[in-house]
């Protein structure tokens, strides 16, 4: 026979002023299975807890109902208290008679009756409670960072500095990402390469960081603290263990290819380093363009290499390692504006360029060594039009969202043109100017003082006439059509998630929004966590943002990783799903609805009419299960139960409500 204790809390006057707590206690004392019922002024206080402990010992109670505030408030408090008694912490039910009763009702009589009902339900449920026990899982103290841009580098450095091992995976042949392509950074105008290459070098040389460039994530299994990650090493055709990066191969390679790092503004060789300051500072062969790999002719690099590092037989390799935490820093790409905007020439005018192309043009290590020369003929443009929101805030043609960094780098571009080209004129077409950052509005003010003319309105059309690019727009502030004859046009295009990033994230069980940006666990309060425990995100993978925000978020993600890796083992909640395998029909519906990929279908041996057969049934990974209960609700045969909230317990509660 169960021996249930029921405590009705006054919560000062919070409950007692509306609910007649003494009457509730009296009614509870009459309920089946209840041995002891009493009230308490402040149950959560030390004296309140002592009173419960005393009652448990005195009345030999084996389960407990506390009618008080919401379980979100003090369930953990009371569970903790129960660990010091003879009762299992999970043999506890909380009847919420504050938020769901006294705070929302004024009629004392009815509120008291409702409180009695709530207690009745809790008593019915507690009678079906089973002792549950937490288990612990070990934490593998190693972190995987996916993406070697400034976000990934910062997160990797922060974790490595704290003394944990980090593997930094980057699909390009060098880390650095987009930031290293940029010339200067707003609003301080410090050189982007000068502040990012030292970080790259630091990451490359850090004893706790293992760089894996030309690598991609191909599979992730396991759960928080124990992810098994398969990493695909793409063939590099150069042995990086022996290569010294002398550069002879690159110098002599006869094949010239469009240089995508320079945004197609220059050529590179088929064996190449991504850029001069690449980390690792060693070349790889571009298998798509190398004539030796394509047709078996050439092989010049192999003949010239003094150390014999070239290996045309190189194959892709798969490496599986265990990590305790994963950080996704997969970054962004710019949209392909040419497809979306035929009215801007659709790419047919060489002198209509993207913002990133401008960055390369103005960059001292770019194709023009920092001289702003228009791609069409190499002439210095005297009149430049900058168009903002190309693809951003344009749901009809591209993206509905604001790309957030463009207002500021457009101002920076205007400033750079006015500074570098004497007598130049810059017209900036804008819809709004958004400068929400430290020193940003001041920078915008300064750009206007420099002479940039801001014109409020989108450019409607760009066409070539007499060697000039005619940009037609409206200045909505005076309500008149305007036109500018420009020598060059810079389009500040929208950011979009880096190609393949949503697939990579899905591998790690992280979902993306409709635009492909990775979804955080909570947009305000858990901004760097994901719905999958142990997987974190940072930088533009989560949404468009500038460098300061990216770096801040990267360090935030690192802090979360450190909080996890600092633990030797994790206590898991015992309130997870269990499958009654003999009843499971193997339909797999639970697998589909599980938001954390904790359910998989497995084949188990079984007996059928005296014969050995194999049946497919659902299996729950206890490390991954978050206890949401979606599978239990979805299960057609009712074979999945959420411990602590079993179907039986819920039905007992409902029954109790209708019993007199």
């Amino acid at each position: 026979m169960a021996r249930t204790g029921v405590i009705i809390c006054h919560c000062g006057s919070n409950i007692a002023s509306v609910v007649d707590v003494e009457r509730v206690a009296l009614a509870a004392g009459q309920m089946p299975g209840v041995t002891y019922a009493a009230t308490n002024k402040y149950t959560c206080s030390i004296s309140g807890q002592d009173m419960i402990k005393q009652a448990i010992a005195e009345h030999e109670l084996d389960r407990l109902v506390i009618a008080s505030c919401t379980p979100r408030m003090h369930e953990t408090t009371f569970r903790k208290m129960l660990t010091k008694t003879s009762i299992n912490p999970y043999m506890l039910e909380i009847a919420n008679i504050r938020e769901q009763c006294s705070w929302v009702h004024t009629d004392k009589e009815k509120a008291t009756e409702k409180a009695i009902d709530l207690v009745h339900m809790a008593v019915a449920k507690v009678l079906k409670d089973q002792p549950l026990f937490t288990s612990s899982i070990p934490v593998h103290k190693k972190c995987l960072v996916v993406g070697g841009g400034i976000a990934g580098i910062q997160a990797a450095l922060d974790v490595a500095e704290a003394g944990y091992e980090v593997t930094l995976v980057e699909r390009e042949p060098s880390i650095g990402g987009k930031m290293v392509m940029l010339d200067k950074t707003f609003p301080t105008l410090d050189c982007s390469a000068c502040i990012s290459t030292p970080k790259m070098a630091e990451a490359g040389a850090h004893p706790n960081i293992r760089l894996m460039t030309s690598c991609e994530i191909s599979a992730v299994t396991g759960y928080i603290g124990n992810f098994q990650v398969t990493i695909r090493q793409k063939p590099r055709y150069v042995n990086h263990d022996t290569c010294t990066g002398c550069g002879l191969c690159e110098e002599k390679c006869p094949t010239k290819v469009t240089n995508l790092f320079d945004q197609s503004l220059s050529k590179r060789k088929a064996i190449y380093k991504l850029f001069p300051q690449a980390v690792p500072a060693k070349p790889v062969i571009d298998s798509e363009h190398c004539t030796m790999l394509k047709s078996g002719k050439c092989g010049l690099c192999s003949k010239l290499c003094p150390l014999g590092c070239i290996n045309f037989e190189d194959q892709e390799d798969f490496i599986t390692e265990t990590f305790g935490a994963i950080v996704l820093a997969t970054g962004y790409d710019l949209i392909d504006w040419a497809k979306a905007y035929p009215e801007y020439g659709g790419g047919k005018y060489a002198n209509v360029i993207s913002g990133l192309q401008f960055e390369r043009l103005v960059n001292a290590s770019g194709p023009t060594e920092g001289h702003i020369q228009r791609p069409g003929d190499g002439a210095e443009p005297k009149t430049v039009v900058i168009v903002k929101c190309v693809g951003s805030r344009d749901p009809a043609k591209a993206k509905a969202y604001c790309s957030r960094a463009c207002c500021m780098y457009a101002a920076k571009h205007a400033h750079q043109i006015l500074e570098k080209i004497e007598g130049s004129k810059v017209y900036v077409f804008y819809i709004d100017v958004r400068t929400p950052g430290k020193g940003y509005e001041e920078f915008y003010d300064k750009t206007r003082a420099d002479g940039a003319v801001y014109i409020r309105g989108r450019v409607s059309k760009i066409y070539e006439e007499g060697g000039k690019l005619i940009c037609k727009g409206e200045d909505t502030l005076i309500g008149k059509q305007v036109a500018v004859e420009a020598d060059m046009v810079v389009l500040e295009t929208a950011m979009e998630p880096a190609h393949g990033s949503t697939e990579t994230a899905a591998t790690a069980g992280v979902s993306a929004d409709k635009d492909g940006w990775l979804t955080e666990a909570h947009p305000k309060l858990r901004p760097v966590e994901t719905q999958t425990a142990g997987v974190y995100l940072c930088g533009t993978a989560q949404g468009p943002k500038d460098i300061p925000d990216t770096v801040a978020q990267a360090s935030a993600a690192a802090a979360k990783v450190l909080g996890l890796l600092a633990k030797d083992e994790l206590e898991t909640s015992p309130m997870i799903s269990v499958v009654d395998a003999p009843k499971c029909s193997g339909c797999g519906f639970c697998e589909q609805v599980c938001p954390v990929k904790a359910i998989s279908m497995v084949d188990v041996p079984s007996m059928y009419n005296g014969k050995r057969v194999t049946r497919t049934v659902a299996q729950v990974n206890s490390g991954l299960c978050s206890g949401c209960g979606a599978c239990s609700a979805a299960c057609r045969t009712g074979c999945i139960d959420l411990l602590g909230f079993t179907n039986k317990q819920i039905l007992e509660e409902v029954d109790a409500l209708w019993q007199e």
Binding site: L477, I478, K480, V482, A483, A486
Partner: protein
């Protein structure tokens, strides 16, 4: 209205606008077109361009449009705009500068408004203080509309809004010298 080709405006145009702004210490780029000047302007209802738009035309280099606007002549120089501007743009002074520039160029968006300005100064020079009746008489004669607003006269005299005789000023000679200095300075410009 025909579209404005911003890049084909002459360099001389830009120099004139810069000189105009410099003459009153205004930095036109500082105006970010918030419209607070227009919002508080008691005369905006009668203007063809809002005060904000006058500045906007100058920012874009559209000087002619600003000079042909009636707005600077309707401006009452009450300084509400200047007092409230978040970027301290001296808008009242700017309106005055535009009026002067227009007058020099012989542009008169409102046919007689320059006459008012001219005869406003006469009684000031003579009496050391404005005398509305003198001003009205001269303005009406010069503008050829002699009996304009005549019907208001009895009520305004009765209510002491107009005085028959000019007020006595202690040192009217000093004011006259001041005015003459100003006139010489204006001619020099």
């Amino acid at each position: 209205m025909a579209e404005k080709n911003l890049s084909s405006l002459s360099a001389a145009n830009a120099v004139r606008i810069e000189a105009l702004a410099d003459s009153i210490g205004a930095k036109l780029h500082e105006c970010y077109q918030c419209g607070k000047c227009t919002a508080g302007c008691p005369m905006a209802g009668s203007m063809d361009l809002m005060p904000r738009q006058v500045i906007r035309h100058l920012q874009l280099g559209l000087l002619d449009e600003a000079l042909h606007s009636r707005a600077p002549w309707i401006c009452a120089t009450c300084y509400t705009c200047s007092a409230r501007c978040p970027h301290d743009v001296p808008i009242s002074e700017l309106m005055e500068a535009v009026r002067q520039q227009a007058e020099r160029a012989g542009i008169r968006p409102i046919r007689r408004s320059h006459l008012f300005t001219k005869y406003f100064l006469l009684p000031l020079k003579w009496f050391g203080k404005n005398h509305e009746l003198t001003l009205t008489m001269f303005y009406n004669l010069a503008s050829g509309r002699v009996l304009q607003h005549f019907s208001y006269l009895p009520a305004m005299l009765k209510g002491s809004k107009l005085k028959i005789f000019p007020a006595r000023v202690k040192n009217r000679e000093a004011v006259r010298r001041l005015m003459e200095n100003c006139e010489r300075e204006a001619e020099r410009i």
